[in-house]
Amino acid sequence: MSGPDSLTPPAGPAVSEPAAYDEMVSGKKSIRPHWREITATLWGMPAEIVREKQARAAAHLAAADQFLPENGDANQPIWSMDLLPLILPEAEWRNLSEGVVQRARLLNLVLADIYGPQKLIHEKLLPPYLVFNNPGFLRALRFVTSRNAPPLHFYAGDLVRTPAGSWRVLADRTQAPGGIGYALRHRAVIARSFPEAFRNTAVHRLQPTIDVWQSSLQSIGAAFDESPGIVLLTPGPHSRFYPEHVLLSAELGINLAQGSDLTVREGMVYLKTLNGLARVHVIYRRVDGEYCDPLELRADSALGVAGLIAAARSGNVVILNLPGSAVIETPAFAPFLPAIARRLLDEELKLPAVTTWWCGQDMPLREALSTPDKFVFQPSFSSDAPLIDPATMSADDKTEFLTRLTATPSEFVAVERVHHSRTPVFGDKGLEPRPVVLRTCAISVGDTWRTLPGGVARIADRGGDQRPVFRQGGLVKDVWILKEDTAGEASAGGGLVELRKLHRVADAVGSRAADNLYWFGRYMERIDSGLRQFRAVTARLTRGTPGPRDVMELQRLARLLEATEWLDEAQALAPVDSSAFVTGITKALGPRGVVEEYRTSLRQLGIALRDRLSQDMWRVVSGFSRALQPGETDFDQALGNLDTAVLNMATLSGLVAENMTRGMGWRFLEIGRRIERAMAICSYIEGLFGDRPERIELSVRISLELCDSIITHRRRFPMDSYTLPALDVIMTDGPNPRSLLYQLEALRNELDGLISHDPLAKERELIDRHLAALRAPAPFAEAQASDRLTELTDGARACRVDLGLLSDALSRNYFTHVNAPQTIVTVFSGRNESRAAS
């Protein structure tokens, strides 16, 4: 091994924690066999290459996470990723996997019992307190069962390895756990940044599990319909897990839906699409159970669907997992599961939890109170709450905690201290052993379960054996299960050649998506128009002391910026050579300026449309840099930046034109763009000619400049010096994609393609009238300035107003603006009052 010193393996397990198991190094201080290939590959590479790979992996992961919500810094990924995977040999995985499956089977039966006959409580195998006082027990779901699917469909378990080398469950995750999407993404990242690692190593692929999962969902739905409607119910773009929801819905070939995209009619669940209501039979739920239905569960929830539980109870929809599945996450169930396993499965638990005692029982309580430092404590009902560790508490805090424990012992569990196993992580000084927690996932398939051969390994801080909380992110690793029999499969490249089945789904465009796409199109063009106007101003400001002609042009541009609402009146009316004017422009282009405001809006629409924009489009939308940095007033710099920004918008237009499928969604985006661009042209005409300016050629020239039509003009009218008829280029020149005629024709085309355009009949007529006027032969050719000017500006104004009417009509007819429902409760006749909650 020729690698530099900094990457030599650590000398056995860290000395300070002699008890912990080391994943990579055995007790005899040799590298365990299943780690040998990858360490050989690593040590065969120069340290700086490894470091670069590590950095690249981090960058890929960050890029994939960029579309996270606005809270905090959106560019700050919640995860960072270590290049080195956690590796397990197949034989060990097989055992572990059996344990995970048994646990999922068992918890499924417990869940079915709690929401069914409750015999575990009657038979005293489960203390009533742990169910009836459990915030995860949702009474509205009692007796809600499905013939087609088990109540627990997706199980995730957080596992740790004890010093003795055996795995234990740290926490069961059954609410709506994440994991598979992240595992897929980590595999993709590592395959990209560290392909060498797969060269001599056959790693179990993840894709087959996704395929099995997809067919499992399909067969659950098949009991209703041969092509069932299946959705992933997400809380929406502001959820931390939204990226995973987008990824999984695409992988599973199912629609991504928020609560407001669904409606319940006559007890059936439907997705609202532009084609009308589409029946939904199966819901893969990623919204917490209690938020699923404001009628029967939390009334203040805006994430759910009113009537959903009634639909499920009537057997018209299957919700996976059953809302209320969080009840079996309860840490205090752990001590009771071995006996329950014997009763329900007639089996011993293969994969028990880390030893846990419920303090609601006398013996454990006495033990916990007499030697509290032997344990860590957790709330009985929350597996996410930070651990309570008496050993590290101040004397006062400890007394206070023990007082609470004595007063309300049922609210706590005591958990044995376990040294989590260590796995190597790239640190500042080479490899460092760090505690690891493994998230595993299992999916129900018919009557059996299937585990994902892989998962997400989470790394705790150097400090100790904390439990990393999934939603808080942190340092993660890919998990590799090595194939035992690699004959004919070696270097199949675990993640490299993931041939996948093509999942084609009918593109059901939701009304909300159509609304967002329409406004995305409008904002694109609005920003483009603003950038071009500001660029025209900035270009003239960089020419040194403006001459009389510059001043005149700047005045016209300033007034146009006001008319198009980019500058306010005071800024626009300031003399163009005054510092007030310069300040106005600087402000508009700077941080928190109007340009940035619009870009933020576009970005937010982009977030809402994240599942419909390609990575490239997203990169353009999220990658804008502002024209002026804080405190900057260098217009030369700004001009360069505005050029770049205009190019960025052009890139976006290009991607929209070339890379988006011509579906209903694209059509709405296109309609938005055409309406906005046509409105911009009308505004130029109104703003630059409305007051019958002197030296009309200056206005003509600016109009052509803003419409990017200078070249077209030169070619069409080589000898012209910007006389009024030259405006034909941007008004009636059909082939010019910047002309008004072009916009209206394109718009008219797309309107005809709408599924039902009848509701827009009146508005279409208005557009047709403007089209006819523009198509009339050479309307401006023989323009006698003053006569034609009036006609020109009046026509532009009328066209802009009519486009506004069209926009309103579109909105009315196609975008369901969901009124926030309110909850009403008849209180009690003695009170005669009602309560409304939003």
């Binding site: 009533p128 006082n133 009403i824 003695g830």
Partner: protein
């Protein structure tokens, strides 16, 4: 054995049109050991697109009502006929309350254990427990003590409609010593749960005028022909659930018609809904209870 016919009419006049209204009704009287539901129907105006009936976690009758077209008003009329027996058993038959308390702490009666824990409207409150202990004297049989406690509410609290709202908490009720039947029920439940005695909230009706017998007329009781609320106490395995009315200081016999049982009011809301549109609105509730026989 007595038979009653009940009509319970709730009307909402909405300030603005409602496009979509989904409602959940717990209006049909529950079937219970001493009470048989002989007939029942629900009439909704406008005609719903979909209704479905089922039994909830507590054994109550529940209807889901979906109205899927524009409407400006909603009327739900519940009509039913019930037959009620006088509960058997004498008040001093059950165990001493401390014995039951011990058994509950040992989870000896898991079927009724749900009703010793706090619930949304009933937190376990020291003042409520202190108040309950005035009746739950050492060695007192559960049922006897419960009746005594119900009487304490009547004598020490003022029936005062309008003094409280649904948001008034148990400690506030005990502090103010006034309220309506719902408040007294919640306060009594809080005290009993603090003592680990299983206790349920009951929503229902009370027929106040007993038949004219021997020319004598029983005096009108509060809550006449309106929805009423009281409590149901589990008095040990022999007596089972027995109902007590703290508002009227009595052990329930055959003039209380139970509609639904729950941990507290939030489990038995007669009608709740999610509507789109509607603006502000107040319900108009009319209850008529008629004695059918004798």
């Amino acid at each position: 054995m007595k038979r009653y016919s009940i009509s319970h009419e709730t009307t909402y006049h909405y300030a603005t049109t409602v496009e979509l209204g989904l409602h959940e009704a717990r209006l049909s009287p529950v079937n219970a050991p001493h009470q048989k539901l002989l007939e029942h129907e629900i009439e909704v105006t406008p005609i719903p697109a979909w209704t479905v009936a089922f039994i909830d976690h507590f054994g109550n009758n529940m209807q889901h009502i979906a109205i899927e077209h524009s409407h400006d008003a909603l009327t739900v009329i519940q009509r039913s006929v019930v037959e009620i027996d006088v509960p058997r058993g004498t008040l001093n038959a059950g165990p001493a309350w401390e014995t039951l308390r011990e058994a509950m702490l040992e989870d000896d009666y898991p079927d009724v254990a749900e009703f010793i824990y706090p619930s949304p409207h009933v937190i376990l409150d020291d003042a409520a427990m202190e108040f309950a202990l005035q009746a739950f004297t050492p060695g007192a049989p559960v049922a006897e003590a419960a009746l005594k406690l119900a009487r304490l509410f009547k004598s020490e609290f003022t029936y005062a409609p309008g003094a409280t709202t649904i948001a008034t908490t148990v400690p506030e009720i005990l502090e103010g010593r006034r309220g309506v039947c719902q408040d007294f029920a919640h306060a009594m439940i809080a005290g009993l749960r603090a003592l680990k005695i299983p206790v349920r909230y009951v929503s229902g009706y009370l027929k106040t005028y007993a038949p004219h017998r021997d020319g004598e007329q029983t005096p009108a009781l509060v809550g006449a022909d309106a929805t009423h609320a009281w409590v149901s106490v589990w008095c040990g395995p022999e007596l089972g659930w027995m109902d007590f009315d703290p508002t009227n200081a009595l052990a329930v016999t055959d003039e209380h018609i139970a509609v639904a049982y729950g941990r507290d009011f939030s489990d038995v809301t007669p009608l709740r809904g999610v509507i789109v549109g509607g603006g502000t609105h107040t319900p108009d509730v009319k209850v008529t209870v008629t004695r059918l026989d004798g």
